[in-house]
């Protein structure tokens, strides 16, 4: 199954990936990153590999694998 990785330290918590994930597989993380920003986290479930999250990410913090 496709999956994504999110670089927590690069994530600025804009949540645009959450807005556009068709499967609802990204959520805000419970913990802050080193910059004190609330990053997002991949839930690890049903991912179609559509790349929407990575395409909209302004910080190139998401990689997609298939």
């Amino acid at each position: 199954m496709p999956k994504i990785t999110i670089d927590k330290e690069r994530c600025k918590g804009c949540q645009l990936c959450i807005l556009y994930c068709p499967k609802g597989q990204i959520r805000p993380d419970k913990n802050l990153n080193k910059k004190g920003i609330q990053p997002v986290v991949f839930l690890g479930g049903d991912c179609s590999g559509c790349k929407f999250c990575a395409i909209i990410c302004p910080d190139a913090a998401i990689e997609v694998y298939k």
Partner: protein, 242 residues
């Protein structure tokens, strides 16, 4: 498992200084992707603006040159004329390209300089603290239009792309947006086209990107992209203009 999406080679592996949800990061990445795909990294010379993207050259892994505020297309003209084999582009915001550099923009376009311009329109000044841009919408509140932009005293949103399309020297103008993944993909296609035009010697190409500035719109990034889609595109309709 194969990586099907990652950081392009021409985008340095460092964090940007941009605010959360800022559209600059997307535009930087798209240019890098296009540079990689067209295999022009060793031929490309970028001209960086003054504004939030002043240190865009820190993020791009290819040759770059600074320009005084608004003069990016004059600097690019100088570079391209003495190095016609190089692929030269400017990256400019609404203040740089439309206000202080309006003359340089219009005349470089009118000379039909074989250049590519990526124009980031976010309807507000970022670096200086959220003042009115020439592209600020009517009634939009900024630091210098605290009661909303009033046409009587501050004029109207300036549609530079439509204006440039009138010029004989201009080959290609398209307005795109980065408010959703589908639009981002369309924006990339337009940027790629603008570079291909230069490689083929077609003349002046400009891609206007409607981009979100959540900080100075005073919105969450998710609301800011919605504002771009619903409000900005009314004044600045998307599509190929020329």
């Amino acid at each position: 498992m194969d990586k099907i999406f990652g950081r392009p080679k021409s985008l340095r592996d460092i964090p940007t200084h941009y605010c959360s949800g800022c559209g600059h990061g997307i535009a930087h990445r798209l240019i890098s992707e296009v540079v990689d795909e067209l295999d022009i990294r060793e031929r490309i010379i970028g001209v960086a603006p003054i504004g939030c993207a002043v240190i865009a050259y820190d993020y791009w892994d290819f040759d770059c040159c600074e320009a005084a505020h608004g003069r990016a297309l004059a600097v690019a003209t100088g570079i391209k004329r003495v190095r016609p084999e190089a692929i030269v582009f400017t990256y400019q915001g609404d203040g740089d390209l439309v206000a202080i550099g309006c003359a340089e923009t219009i005349h470089a376009a009118n000379r039909g300089e074989n250049l590519t311009t990526v124009f980031i329109n976010n309807a507000v000044y970022g670096m200086t603290g959220g003042q009115m841009a020439p592209t600020t919408l009517l009634n939009q509140k900024t630091a210098t239009t605290p009661f909303g932009r009033d046409a009587k005293s501050a004029g109207y949103p300036l549609k530079i792309s439509e204006l440039l399309a009138q010029l004989s020297g201009v080959y290609y103008v398209e307005r795109v947006s980065t408010d959703s993944p589908v639009k981002v993909l369309a924006a990339k296609r337009a940027i790629k086209q603008a570079f291909i035009n230069q490689i083929e010697g077609k003349g002046f190409s400009l891609v206007e990107i409607l981009s979100a500035c959540p900080t100075y719109l005073g919105m969450k990034p998710t609301a800011a992209v919605k504002w771009v889609r619903e409000e900005m595109t009314k004044e600045f309709p998307l599509g190929k203009i020329k």
